[in-house]
């Protein structure tokens, strides 16, 4: 049996070579994991949410471990779009994986202005030949020069060249650094984090169509499970012109310390993620797949290839790894390798052939 398996996924005008990404909020702006992952193993980095102005985030504590999960209340802490462009984007653009910028806002205008700003940078930055700029990554990446380490068998994809910068081997994000945008209309942790949009089909459709007019890049609308009928919301995103929907964002939860009789988290409630929510994510992926014809990107509690395959069989065209990055930063690479192995072992030549085949 051949080992050629087509794992590519088309999202609007663009194509993921590898369907396994790392979810927004769990991988920072990429550089935080320098030295710990081989970025060529990752299909896409979905950045920490970017807002128009910097945000400090919610009061501490922001995290608590729960049964098979974690509850977080970060509150969209981020550097803001200007600092993102000046400090974070150059590194992200140098990586041999797709970069999807996650965008959040309090008002429709804020979303539009962030996308406008990011588009203006891209327009001035396309170098037209499909190459990407390199930055000096010697400190971060030299660990992945081939060596005798079982974790790094596939490290040859990043080639260290002698001046310490990297050659990304022609892999690029359409020559402009940003593959597309994931629109966070589903953060449960801030009063003005877009959840107002994410729970109202009319607002979702209007926001999506406004954003659509600003960019030709893939627009992925990230949905919340904290609604009565997620399919209605997904359809609204599709009607507005979204290229894909991604789901699920976290489920609202609370943990109370019975000694102090107070919520453990500074913001009282938080968003639940991790293996505990996986069955919810799989079920909602199954439901949404049957409601829309655009691709569904599934996430929620994926820790291994079998978990990801559940999402794919339910209807996900691509997946994201979230909480599991905290357990093992290399999870995305292991999951995509495992998906490939599953396909080879089961005579599947293209991942599309098994997407949503569960009846």
């Amino acid at each position: 049996m051949g080992t050629n398996v087509d794992l590519s996924v088309r999202i609007g005008t663009n194509v993921f070579a590898n369907p396994v990404g790392v979810a927004s909020g769990t991988f920072g702006y990429g550089g935080e994991y320098g030295g710990l992952v081989d970025f060529s193993d990752i299909g896409a980095i979905y950045t920490k949410a970017v807002t128009l102005e910097p945000r400090g985030g919610n009061p501490a504590p922001r995290l608590v471990e729960t049964p098979s999960g974690i509850l977080n209340s970060i509150g969209l802490a981020n550097v803001g779009v200007e600092k993102f462009i000046s400090d974070k984007l150059p590194f992200l653009k140098s990586l041999p994986c797709a970069v999807v910028v996650n965008v959040a806002g309090s008002t429709e205008d804020e979303y539009l202005r962030v996308i406008e700003r990011l588009e203006s940078v891209d327009a001035s930055d396309v170098n037209g030949n499909g190459t990407v700029s390199t930055v000096n990554l010697s400190g971060l990446l030299r660990r992945f020069a081939p060596r005798n380490d079982r974790h790094c068998e596939r490290s040859e994809a990043i080639q260290i060249i002698d001046n310490g910068s990297i050659d990304t081997g022609g892999v690029n994000n359409n020559g402009s650094g940003v593959f597309g945008y994931e629109i966070n209309v589903s953060c449960p942790n801030v009063n003005h984090g877009g959840l107002a949009f994410g729970t109202d089909p009319a607002q979702i459709e209007r926001l999506t169509s406004s954003l659509r007019r600003l960019t030709k890049k893939p627009l992925i609308i990230k949905l919340t499970p904290n609604v009565t009928d997620i399919a209605t919301i997904a359809k609204a995103a599709e009607s507005g012109g979204a290229d894909a929907v991604s789901l699920i964002n976290t489920l609202v939860g609370m943990v109370i310390d019975v000694k102090t009789r107070k919520p453990v988290l500074g913001a009282k409630t938080g968003g639940l993620s991790g293996p505990a929510v996986r069955p919810v994510g799989v079920a909602l992926t199954y439901r949404v797949k049957r409601a829309v014809s655009i691709p569904v990107i599934g996430m929620g509690g994926i820790t291994c290839a079998d978990d990801a395959l559940q999402y794919i069989l339910a209807g996900a065209s691509a997946v994201q790894i979230g909480t599991a990055n905290f357990i093992n930063p290399r999870t995305a690479g292991l999951v995509s390798a495992g998906i490939r192995e599953y396909c080879v072992n089961n005579g599947v030549s293209s991942l599309k052939d098994i997407c949503g085949i569960v009846e």
Binding site: T26, G28, G56, P61, R62, V64, G69, N72
Partner: protein, 280 residues
């Protein structure tokens, strides 16, 4: 700062050193993992199941360059550390480190006698007096700091406090630090807290640096005493962490002047003056 490494280490020893306190030593991968400095930490994956789900962070309690062995000192206080305490020598353990900003600015040279050479400590440029204050399980990173200062010929006073004498660690590095012991019940050493002892028995001035790690009330008091005397106070903080590398913003603490800093990245060592203590 060199980026951290993830590798499979091997447990060398894991034994009880006080009531509920354990010392674990594990092999550090020479040439692969950067040399840890006092104040830095590692994370370990304990077990392979859902409990505990997240990796657990532990401050380095020592590093022996000759044998390339690191130690941590931890307290059994939850499901994760319960599992960890049951692990035995020879078992593999998934490690990421070194992480965080250390007390020291590090020079990763190892000299001809296999000693790790540290260059200037951020806080040690002028002060003549160094006080290391450790409370309870906060003793780990303080022992590493004490041995590093000693190796550089910098004299320091080591003050350790705990509830009663059953919590006094029986390890050589502790004895080597020549500690002033304080117990809440007076069963050993000074009766009272570390902060009480420092306040009553030590003269602090602008030429003093106090290094502190321990429970939040202790850090708050020690910082207050040091700052009132015009001394510098460097504290090593503890927080629940998810990523440990600065990505998730989960371990953030409020800082003076507004906003938050990450315990895992800007910390765990902070200048006490930079922490917004009233919101901790």
């Amino acid at each position: 700062m060199e980026p951290p490494t993830q590798f499979t280490s091997r447990m060398i020893a894991n034994g009880q050193i006080a009531e509920g306190f354990y010392e674990l030593s594990l092999a550090w991968e020479p040439g692969v993992a950067p040399i840890p400095a006092p104040g830095q930490f590692l994370t370990v994956r304990i077990g392979s199941g859902a409990v505990p789900l997240l990796r657990r962070p532990f401050a380095f309690a020592g590093f022996d360059a000759a044998s390339s062995v690191v130690t941590i000192i931890y307290q059994k206080r939850g499901a994760g550390t319960e599992l960890l305490s049951a692990k035995r020598a020879g078992e593999p353990i998934d490690v990421i480190g070194p992480l965080g900003t250390p007390f020291a600015v590090r020079d990763t040279r190892i000299d001809t006698d296999n000693n790790v050479v540290y260059n200037k400590y951020a806080a040690c440029i002028n002060p003549q007096k160094h006080i290391i204050a450790a409370g309870g399980i906060g003793v780990g990173p303080m022992l590493f700091l004490a041995s590093s200062l000693k190796a550089r010929g910098i004299p320091a006073r080591f003050v350790f406090g705990c509830r009663n004498q059953s919590f006094i660690p029986s390890v050589k590095t502790f004895a080597d630090a020549n500690p002033q012991i304080c117990t809440d019940d007076g069963g050993a050493g000074f009766r009272g807290t570390v902060a009480d002892y420092v306040n009553a028995n030590m003269s602090l001035d602008i030429n003093t640096t106090v290094y502190a790690c321990g429970p939040l009330p202790m850090l708050r008091s020690v910082n207050e005493i040091a700052r009132t005397a015009g001394a510098k106070c460097l504290v090593s903080l503890e927080a629940v962490m998810a990523c440990g590398v600065g990505a998730c913003m989960g371990c953030a603490v409020p800082v003076a002047g507004g906003g938050y800093s990450r315990v895992c990245k800007e910390g765990p060592v902070f200048d006490g003056k930079d922490i917004l203590w009233e919101r901790m």
